[in-house]
């Protein structure tokens, strides 16, 4: 049976969604900023902005220098998540085997549903059209179709904007010929340099290389490198799994040494992480925390904890114990904190702690679900303006197809 994997990658996603929502921004250079400041980082730029060299990761003031007429829009996570859910809801109508890879990328296994890659491409064109018709005409995507997950993503990544690439045994050699190693998914500077030392500088040379020699140099990773470009499937679509860690970070919008403010901010980040932990029915046996101080530098670390963390208060106490005293050394500019060593809630009773805090945390979660976020908060969080540490968006695994779509 012909394996058919389709990879979908939305083009300039956040910027395209903003241009979809506001037609007056279409056809104009636009960047979506993490924060609306001159130091704000561009999370996405429209194709018109990219033509001026405005790339993801660039600062707003740098973008303005490259393109004086650029428009900035502040990131709006719910808008992108909701749009992604609608896109994925279309995908679920074509196959039940879907891997949401990021907020704007997904794999679709069409094996057994279509007889060939070409037939899969017809479904791909249909999906593209449905996204335009049902969600927004400004939303375009690139697609790759191949017999393996890696090649499908390689095809999607290297396709033209809005294009579709089919990779099969007959055309793969020609498609890889002369392409730089770093065009490939998973090959970055160090690996490319290592391959260069072996006399391999292009992807077609990697394809023709001996897997035995590659394994002698890279170990099992060498076989993976060879298999990926030779259409050998190694893993297939990834299944949803429990996260390894849950964390939040924030670049501060104000510079202050007021300890009450920092306690509130850390509590807000702990609440976010704690909410996600409890939503997933998990507890944590490890915690990490970091703060950047001006001019002192970084401070923080990670540690294992004896009693599992489940509530926001438990997490805050651990984080504050790690960071609190050190805040006197400078002015905080950045926080990152989270939990790791996650496991399902065990229900193990503690000799020293009562069950009440966990039950209370779940009750507060239910109230906040019903009446809105931060309806009830820990005391430290009182009166902290929404302006500080607003909701942010990650690029990985932010949407599940199992999420309630309600559309």
């Amino acid at each position: 049976m012909q394996r058919v994997i389709l990879h979908l990658d939305m083009n300039s996603y956040f910027a395209s969604v903003e241009q979809q929502a506001n037609p007056f921004l279409r056809g104009k250079p636009l960047a979506v900023l993490a924060t609306m400041t001159s130091q704000g980082c561009a999370l996405a730029s429209s194709k018109e902005a990219k033509a001026f060299g405005v790339k993801t990761g660039i600062r707003a003031d740098e973008a303005r220098q490259l393109c004086p007429d650029i428009t900035f829009v502040e990131v709006d996570p719910p808008k992108y998540r909701s749009t992604t859910k609608r896109i994925f809801s279309i995908l679920t109508q074509y196959s039940e085997t879907i891997e949401p890879y990021s907020i704007d990328e997904a794999f679709l296994d069409l094996t057994g549903l279509v007889p060939s890659l070409e037939a899969g491409a017809q479904l791909g064109y249909e999906i593209k059209q449905r996204i335009k018709d049902e969600i927004g005409e400004w939303l375009t995507c690139s697609m790759g179709l191949a017999s393996t997950r890696w090649l499908a993503k390689f095809g999607g990544d290297t396709a033209s904007k809005g294009g579709l690439v089919i990779l099969h045994r007959e055309n793969i050699v020609a498609y890889l010929k002369g392409r730089d190693l770093q065009e490939a998914w998973g090959i970055a500077g160090a690996t490319a340099a290592h391959l260069n030392r072996l006399g391999i500088t292009t992807l077609d040379e990697l394809q023709a290389a001996s897997p035995v020699n590659l394994m002698a140099s890279f170990g099992i990773r060498g076989y993976e490198l060879w298999a990926n470009v030779n259409a050998v499937e190694l893993g297939g679509l990834a299944q949803p799994r429990q996260p390894k860690s849950i964390g939040h970070s924030h670049v501060l919008r104000v510079r202050t040494r007021d300890p009450r403010f920092h306690k509130a901010l850390v509590m807000r980040l702990c609440e976010r992480a704690g909410r996600r932990l409890r939503d997933l029915g998990l507890e944590a046996q490890g915690v990490y925390a970091h703060v950047s101080l001006v001019p002192a530098g970084g401070l923080g670390g990670s540690k294992k904890v004896y009693y599992p963390i489940h509530t926001t208060r438990q997490l805050f106490q651990q984080v504050w114990a790690m960071l609190g005293n050190g805040l006197r050394q400078g002015t905080p500019s950045f926080y990152a904190l989270g939990v790791f060593r996650l496991r399902p809630v065990s229900g193990q009773l503690s000799l020293l702690e009562k069950r009440k805090p966990a039950a209370l945390a779940r009750a507060i979660d239910r109230i906040n679900n019903r009446y809105g976020e931060e309806t009830i908060v820990e005391g430290e969080l009182m009166r902290l303006d929404d302006y500080h540490a607003p909701e942010r968006i990650g690029f990985r695994k932010t949407v599940d197809v199992d999420d309630e779509l309600g559309i």
Binding site: F24, D69, R370, T375
Partner: protein, 94 residues
């Protein structure tokens, strides 16, 4: 280039076309003036923020947001399926 961006958060009257399960806002009244909607550009959901003094049932679930435009401006109208209220969330002029 954006000329202005306001967030009124005001209740408005909205004239809506119900076509089966599909809801399409056609016009709305704001501050005594009627605004005809030329296009509905994007529909998305947003978790309702806590509103001080909100009664039971408010804040639960999600609101529907409609990013719409007329000839001059764009607007975001949110609709609460629970309270059946429409709120004008944003106005952007060019």
């Amino acid at each position: 280039m954006l000329v202005f961006h306001e967030q009124p958060h005001e209740k408005v009257r909205v004239f809506v076309d119900f076509n089966g399960p599909k809801v399409t806002p056609k016009a709305f009244e704001w501050a005594g003036k009627r605004y005809d909607i030329h296009s509905v550009n994007l529909v998305y959901q947003r978790r309702r923020a806590h509103a001080p003094g909100a009664g039971a049932g408010q804040g639960k679930g999600y609101d529907w947001c409609f990013a719409v435009s007329d000839a001059a401006n764009t607007y975001v109208l949110s609709y609460s399926p629970e309270t059946l209220e429409w709120i004008l969330e944003e106005v952007q002029g060019q």
